[in-house]
């Protein structure tokens, strides 16, 4: 018992220390987005939402945040279509050389150093005469995040019995109906998780974006640029917003998983004797 305490007390102390050092800065940022601080003490009377208002006024950060959300959504949507088609194609023709090649093409932008991907795209767009902006960033991010969605979708497809597709065709379904009624419903969760992961990747992608953003900067690029001139307290409001948003998303996904795991995840109640 005493022995346990000898181990437990320092262990608890370390745990507390770790959590405090992890979360204290976040708590500080959270407080600073609402209150002002003087000589290391929070001034509790100074509550105001002015930094949030500033963020949504014509602030460069607000615009960058909007750009990031836009690029993320577009890239995830495009990558989801692309990756899903590719995964279905590869799954239906396993072992084919063309399937292997397609797989490499999808994984390459994810595996290459971002600086190479960014630079190649930059050169390509310049030669093609495409002006840098939201469009070029979106293309870059689509290439970058396709791999992650592809991987997750393919894993799910591989877990599905190949017989399901054959069973659907056997029962008279067309290829289109098989996709709509059998494949797609089973891809809902992988697409959701893959999409969120891809969105997160896109949200903090910096290197490729640096090469491809003209005047339309995304959030990381803008923050990077701001380092030279110093931050305004709007940044606290921004971080708090992103934090809140992330927590919401995590909870939403957890709920979705739980609901989805309901019917299919349960094991036989009758039991197979």
């Amino acid at each position: 018992m005493t022995r346990n305490r000898i181990i437990d007390v320092p262990l608890a102390a370390v745990a507390v220390l770790v959590y405090v050092s992890l979360y204290l800065p976040i708590l500080l940022v959270f407080l600073l987005s609402f209150f002002s601080m003087r000589r290391g003490k929070v001034n509790w009377d100074s509550f105001s939402l002015s930094w949030y208002a500033k963020l949504f006024e014509n602030d460069a950060l607000g615009e960058a945040l909007w750009n990031s959300l836009l690029v993320g959504s577009l890239a995830v949507a495009a990558a989801a279509c692309f990756a899903t088609s590719a995964a279905i194609l590869v799954r239906s023709q396993p072992g084919r050389h063309s399937a292997r090649l397609l797989e490499y093409v999808i994984f390459l932008p994810f595996l290459l150093p971002p600086i190479i991907t960014g630079l190649s795209l930059l050169i390509y767009f310049r030669e093609a005469g495409v002006g840098r902006g939201i469009f070029t960033i979106t293309v870059g991010h689509t290439l970058f995040v396709s791999a992650i969605i592809y991987r997750i979708v393919l894993t799910r497809l591989n877990a599905l019995s190949r017989n399901l597709v054959e069973a659907a065709l056997d029962l008279g379904a067309t290829r289109m109906q098989t996709f709509r009624f059998i494949i797609l419903p089973n891809l809902r969760m992988p697409l959701l998780t893959g999409g969120l992961l891809a969105f997160a990747l896109s949200f903090d992608e910096t290197m490729i974006t640096l090469f491809l953003s003209g005047t339309d900067a995304t959030l990381p690029v803008r923050l990077y640029a701001m380092m030279r001139v110093g931050f305004t307290p709007t940044i606290n409001a921004l971080v708090t917003l992103i934090l809140g948003f992330s927590i919401l998303l995590t909870v939403a996904v957890a709920l979705a998983w739980r609901r989805n795991a309901g019917p299919a995840g349960k094991t036989s109640r009758e039991g197979r004797t």
Partner: protein, 374 residues
């Protein structure tokens, strides 16, 4: 391949016409011939079982009929029409898969309704027909469950209801009972048979279990290495195997070989075996070389005065296994050990190990089979 003998056919065939005519059908994977060109008629309304050991090409044959697998030779006619160009979803056949392939995200009801839904059948008709189908397979109360919430037998019946809902002309079943335990399996065998009789749908059923095949089938097609070894009624195959392979598959463990023909009559043949000369009743054999005589263990009995085929043996072992007693016998001239299976009888004297015993079998209770294996 051995041609099915004439008298074995009419017992089932009657006025039935072939639903499927398979001619010269072959399937090869690269340089491996999974199905060697074969002919097969599937009769309208019959329960045909394709029986064979693992790897003999049963699944490949079934998948070729269903349309999942392209044949590399030959053709399949359905109702007299070549169906080579008919895509899977337009063939009036439905399949029950070995792993059932139930759609995991749909309830039992939705699974069963699927065939009607993709055909655009109106909701009210659909519901009524699903209810009927679930009643047939006795799953009325489980319509709202998901497949993962069902036992093996219930999943199996769901798969059957789903395959039957569109009233196909033919249902293909690939080892549908393999995953069930023994009791449930026997129950499902009877159930399948009843459903098939009542619906009148032709069943082509794949299994590697000979007792299952005997229980459910009108006819059995025995496959071996991509060939059809023999087709016939369960009785034919059991009592009149044409090859050593079929005889062994149906549990005839006594193979007397080598075996030479001494004389042939219209309905009897005299053959010489290492155990002596034996009389065999039945039509004369089609080949004269490489024959063996197959005698079922239960056909072998202690010789009585009127037994025509007699063998003088020494008793090697006697084992009592409940309803039956199994006696192993050895003939001084032959290396082979004979197995005799007799009904146990509390008052009967058992043979004593080491004693001499004269056993025999009826001329009608044995079969001349092709002995040599290619």
């Amino acid at each position: 391949m051995v041609a099915p003998d004439a008298d074995s056919r009419h017992e089932v065939a009657g006025d039935r016409t072939p639903l499927l005519r398979i001619r010269g059908l072959g399937v090869r994977f690269q340089d491996f011939e999974a199905i060697r060109p074969l002919d097969l008629d599937v009769l309208n309304g019959e329960f045909l079982t394709v029986l064979g050991p693992s790897g003999s090409g049963k699944t490949t044959l079934l998948r070729t009929i269903a349309g999942f697998q392209q044949p590399t030779a030959g053709r399949i006619e359905f109702d007299g029409r070549d169906i080579a160009d008919l895509p899977i979803n337009r063939r009036p056949f439905n399949t029950v898969f070995q792993d059932y392939a139930l759609f995991p995200h749909m309830t039992v009801r939705e699974n069963v309704a699927f065939g009607l839904r993709v055909r655009g059948v109106a909701r009210t008709t659909r519901d009524a027909r699903v209810r009927d189908a679930l009643a047939i397979v006795e799953l009325e109360d489980l319509g709202d469950r998901y497949p993962a919430q069902l036992s093996g037998g219930q999943q199996q019946r769901t798969a059957l209801a789903r395959a039957m809902i569109c009233e196909p002309r033919l249902i293909l079943l690939d080892e549908p009972l393999a995953a069930l335990d023994a009791t449930l399996r026997r129950q499902m065998q009877r159930f399948l048979k009843v459903v098939q009789r009542r619906s009148g749908i032709t069943f082509v059923f794949v299994t590697h279990d000979q007792s299952e095949a005997i229980t459910v089938s009108d006819r059995i097609c025995v496959m071996r290495s991509g060939r059809i070894e023999q087709i016939g009624t369960p009785r034919d195959l059991y009592y009149r195997p044409q090859s050593r392979f079929v005889a062994a598959f149906f549990g005839a463990s006594n193979i007397l070989e080598p075996c030479r023909i001494e004389s042939t009559g219209e309905a009897t043949t005299m053959v010489s075996t290492p155990f002596g000369t034996m009389r065999v009743d039945g039509p004369p054999p089609q080949v004269r070389e490489g024959l063996a005589l197959a005698v079922r263990p239960e056909a072998l009995v202690p010789a009585a005065d009127d037994t025509c085929n007699r063998i003088e043996c020494e008793v090697v072992s006697v084992s009592f296994v409940g309803s039956e007693t199994i006696t192993e016998l050895k003939h001084p001239e032959a290396r082979h050990v004979l197995t005799m299976k007799t009904r146990s009888n509390p008052s009967a004297r058992h043979p004593v190990v080491g004693s001499r015993l004269e056993v025999g079998f009826d001329a009608a209770a044995c079969a001349l089979v092709k002995g040599a294996q290619e």
